[in-house]
């Protein structure tokens, strides 16, 4: 056991491992805060749609030769998030269908563009690392780390400052409007933060696995806790725990980072499902 901890301590001497943990934990925290809202607004799959949109935008950025692909991917993803979150039930294409259409459409167009106009000799590796985030989190630059810290702090501050408004808009948008809450403005805020977090989270788990980072902690917390506040807090704790232990496992065992974190999220979900079941049985008895 002592050897195991010694090995972990030796890995933490590497700068890129320290960066990975800082960024991984921050992204997990932010995505879980948003996750509760998105799950309750029935937008669990929006992470997938937006990350695929970001993938398509990155492909366009690569084709036109932009080294900083976030110049395109960030505004495109924010635009898509605003469109999706603001689309009402009366729109001609319903919310889930719009997300699905966006998701597969952007993914297909992105891959098609990358194959038609390859900017490198190794397209499959480019696609693989973007989709599955195999080790992206372990290869971050100092600028990216500071960027992530800044965005994460901003996200947490916004969430804490506007907690009551976000709560109101999440549960009943029409009621919130009737009581004078500027629902459109807060929906816009949620959309922008969602898009920013998703583009950042692509570093951690890749674009195919982002939904897991958003929905699993929220769903796990909902198995046991019932109030918005308790679900949000426990979701944040679960998400940070899963990201940290997943990262640790992947470094120690040499497994891909993204899938390992999602695997831990799945295990935690079933553990909470069991706890929730036991609690409900105990209450009935």
């Amino acid at each position: 056991m002592a050897e195991f901890f010694q090995m972990i301590a030796s890995y933490f001497e590497f700068r890129f491992v320290q960066y990975a943990f800082i960024v991984g934990i921050l992204i997990a925290l932010c995505s879980s805060l948003l996750g509760v809202t998105l799950v309750l607004k029935r937008f669990s799959f929006i992470g997938d749609g937006l990350s695929h949109m970001a993938f398509g935008a990155m492909a366009v950025a690569a084709v036109v030769g932009l080294t900083n692909n976030m110049i395109i991917s960030m505004p495109v993803t924010i635009g898509a998030a605003i469109l999706l979150l603001r689309s009402s039930q009366n729109s001609r294409i319903k919310g889930d269908a719009a997300v699905a259409m966006l998701s597969v459409g952007a993914l297909a167009m992105g891959y098609l563009l990358m194959n038609l106009f390859p900017t490198s000799s190794n397209v499959s590796a480019d696609v693989c690392t973007t989709l599955f985030g195999s080790v992206s989190i372990l290869t971050l630059s100092t600028v990216e780390v500071w960027l992530c810290i800044g965005l994460s702090i901003a996200t947490v501050i916004i969430f804490v400052l506007f907690y009551n408004k976000i709560f109101a808009v999440t549960f009943d948008e029409n009621f919130a409007r009737a009581t004078g809450v500027k629902a459109t403005l807060y929906n816009l805020l949620i959309a922008i933060i969602t898009a920013v977090i998703i583009v950042l989270a692509m570093n951690l788990v890749g674009s195919l696995l982002i939904s897991a980072l958003i929905i699993f902690p929220a769903l796990s917390a909902m198995r046991v806790f019932k109030s918005f506040k308790s679900v949000t807090i426990s979701s944040a704790i679960i998400s940070v725990f899963a990201a940290a232990s997943g990262l640790l496992l992947s470094i120690v065992r040499g497994t891909p980072v993204g899938p390992t974190i999602v695997a831990v999220d799945i295990v935690v979900f079933f553990a909470f499902l069991l706890v929730g079941f036991i609690i409900s049985r105990a209450r009935k008895a």
Binding site: F16, I71, S121, N122, T129, L147, K165, L185
Partner: protein, 180 residues
């Protein structure tokens, strides 16, 4: 008050996001393209300070970065870090093990010898280039003092950077091939 705070934070987020240093799609998923060597023999300008054994090969008494003891995730991450922040590793003694995968040169009679390291999903790969001490440039099939194509080899060498065509590249110089 809150509205003011909201309006002041949103542009901050967008500005921060826009100044990001690119995503990983372009920046690191295809580092193989940037790994090319210069020079025609493995002897560096520092060779006079190298201690040689009785066979005339460099002797490395300690290894600064031993990639052979790390798993695939750590090896790939470590080599990526070497590519991204090469100045941190200058003059460090590095030991690496993996299949020999030379890269093509503009000279048809030459190539850039490298050891391939892959991530855990085997979808991403970095080539860590090296120049064996006193051995002329390899061919694409290997041999002539270098390992054969795809042959597993353990290499120890000193980490250095060099400029070629206005780009900074990395390689291990004064390298030796450890044959078990």
């Amino acid at each position: 008050m809150k509205r003011k705070a909201l309006l002041s934070i949103v542009p901050f987020i967008i500005a921060l996001a826009s100044c990001a240093n690119g995503g990983h799609y372009n920046a690191r998923s295809n580092p193989m393209d940037s790994l090319f060597a210069s020079g025609s023999t493995g002897k560096s300008v520092f060779q006079s300070s190298i201690s040689l054994n009785s066979d005339g090969l460099p002797v490395y008494e300690h290894i600064d970065i031993d990639l052979t003891t790390m798993n695939a995730t750590m090896v790939f991450s470590q080599v990526s870090d070497m590519i991204n922040k090469p100045s941190t590793y200058t003059s460090k003694i590095v030991k690496v093990k993996g299949p020999f995968r030379p890269y093509e040169s503009t000279d048809p009679n030459s190539c850039y010898p490298a050891i391939l390291v892959q991530d855990a999903t085997a979808c991403c790969g970095n080539g860590l280039e090296f120049l064996l001490y006193g051995v002329p440039r390899c061919t694409m099939q290997g041999g002539n003092g270098y390992p054969l194509l795809n042959e597993e080899a353990t290499i120890v060498g000193r980490f250095e950077t060099y400029l070629e065509d206005y780009s900074l590249y990395i390689h291990l110089v004064d390298a030796i091939w450890l044959k078990d």
